[in-house]
């Protein structure tokens, strides 16, 4: 909108900003108790478009605040480098649809190595391009991680994630929170 100088009355924000705000305000009641004993490790991809290209390090910090809240401080392992210096996953800018598959994967190898280094078994990818690319390079290079949206783990932590909303969870989390009183 800036590029084309299109005037708009609305304010523009992101879900991640709102998640962080709602947690700080106490409106979004969520914690990491579910992962206290499981100790499942998570890392996160900073989407270039949201972080480096639009909202900067503040967005990266908000994302980490949200993630640490829902998985536990000690269960989040950052990639290096990260935040505004993060590497692109290699799926952005239309690369996933551009047809140069070999080059896209060679590009993604940098990201794959970064993820493997963290030894995390789950990667948050709050962007559909990143999500699809990180899954693809995981399969291609033989990684053993799952790729998730924040909303999935947020609902898991709140005990409201439905049985059919677990496509991206590994077997270790498929049944968590399902057998208790919270299911109808």
């Amino acid at each position: 909108m800036r590029k084309f100088k299109i005037d708009h009355k609305f304010e523009f924000t992101t879900l991640i900003t709102l998640y962080a705000q709602w947690i700080r305000e106490g409106k979004l009641k969520v914690n990491s108790d579910w992962n206290k004993d499981l100790k499942i490790k998570f890392t996160a991809q900073d989407p270039c478009n949201m972080v480096r290209k639009t909202w900067g390090q503040k967005m990266a910090d908000d994302m980490r605040f949200v993630i640490r809240t829902i998985v536990g401080e000690e269960n989040f392992i950052d990639m290096v480098p990260n935040g505004i210096n993060n590497y692109c996953c290699g799926g952005g800018g239309g690369a996933l649809q551009a047809g140069f598959t070999d080059q896209r994967r060679a590009y993604g190898k940098v990201k794959f190595n970064q993820i493997q280094e963290t030894r995390a078994t789950y990667v948050f990818a709050p962007c559909h391009n990143c999500h699809a690319q990180i899954e693809d390079i995981g399969h291609h290079f033989g990684g053993h991680y799952n790729v998730v949206h924040i909303w999935t783990i947020m609902c898991l932590a709140m005990g409201v994630l439905g049985e059919n909303e677990r496509t991206y969870l590994g077997d270790d989390l498929k049944d968590i929170g399902l057998n208790k009183e919270d299911q109808p």
Partner: protein, 239 residues
């Protein structure tokens, strides 16, 4: 075979074109330090890298620049310009390389998604009524089966809602159940929200295609709908 460069014969027309469109691209300021290239995952793909590209532009190797498919391998992630001491805007240079390709010769996947977005309001080409039907169907299922969410509000085009939330079109098409976790969070915080029905796809392939006209059209339609029809004060970009 290497040939000496004849400085007097240099006609860097592409450079002039890019600088005309992007006066802040700083193409002449490159120090050839290579910071961009060292930190670019696309370096060496198609025997190209950001520093080499800038050299080629400055030297006027316009034909080679016009041909290299590297324009579609670089993701315009902006890591290079972020690190560049002289702020040489390589991503905008790449955008203009893409724009230089005849529209029909640009990658079919991106082209198709951009055209679909212009026509249908989302890159997957989902008709609006199907989107609304899917949203209502998934919502109803949850409201009926989970008592904790029997009052969960889910709507499309509800004027006056505080938040207008865009939605990647992949979910309603290939994995509708994935729509619901977000709704549950919004319900838990009591958010007053709606989906817009016009240009509701959160993706933007016309940007990737370097189609200024298509990109602008999508934004204008979207802004008009939000500001004039729905009057939502806040637009939220989805995950």
């Amino acid at each position: 075979m290497s040939l000496p460069i004849e400085i007097n014969d240099m006609e860097p027309e592409f450079k002039a074109l890019v600088l005309d469109r992007v006066p802040t691209a700083n193409l002449d300021l490159c120090l050839t330090c290579g910071t961009c290239t060292a930190g670019c995952p696309a370096s060496e793909l198609f025997e190209m890298d950001p520093r080499k590209l800038v050299r080629m532009v400055v030297l006027g190797l316009d034909e080679e620049i016009a041909k290299t498919p590297w324009a579609w391998v670089c993701t315009m992630c902006t890591r290079c310009v972020n690190a560049c001491p002289m702020k040489v805007d390589i991503p905008k240079l790449v955008y203009n390389m893409r724009a230089g390709w005849p529209r029909e010769k640009r990658p079919k996947g991106i082209l198709g998604s951009c055209d679909m977005h212009i026509r249908a309001g989302n890159a997957m080409g989902v008709p609006t009524e199907d989107f609304i039907w899917t949203v209502e169907d998934v919502a109803e299922e949850i409201q009926m089966t989970d008592p904790r969410f029997k009052d969960m509000q889910v709507s499309v085009d509800r004027p006056g809602a505080y938040y207008a939330i865009n939605q990647n079109s992949r979910e309603p098409v290939t994995e509708p159940d994935e729509l619901a976790p977000l709704w549950k969070i919004l319900h838990a915080v009591g958010a007053d929200w709606t989906y817009p029905s016009v240009m509701w796809g959160g993706e933007n392939y016309c940007l990737f295609l370097a189609d200024d006209e298509g990109w602008r059209y999508i934004l204008e339609e979207f802004v008009y709908h939000i500001d004039n029809t729905l009057k939502c004060p806040v637009v939220v970009n989805t995950e």
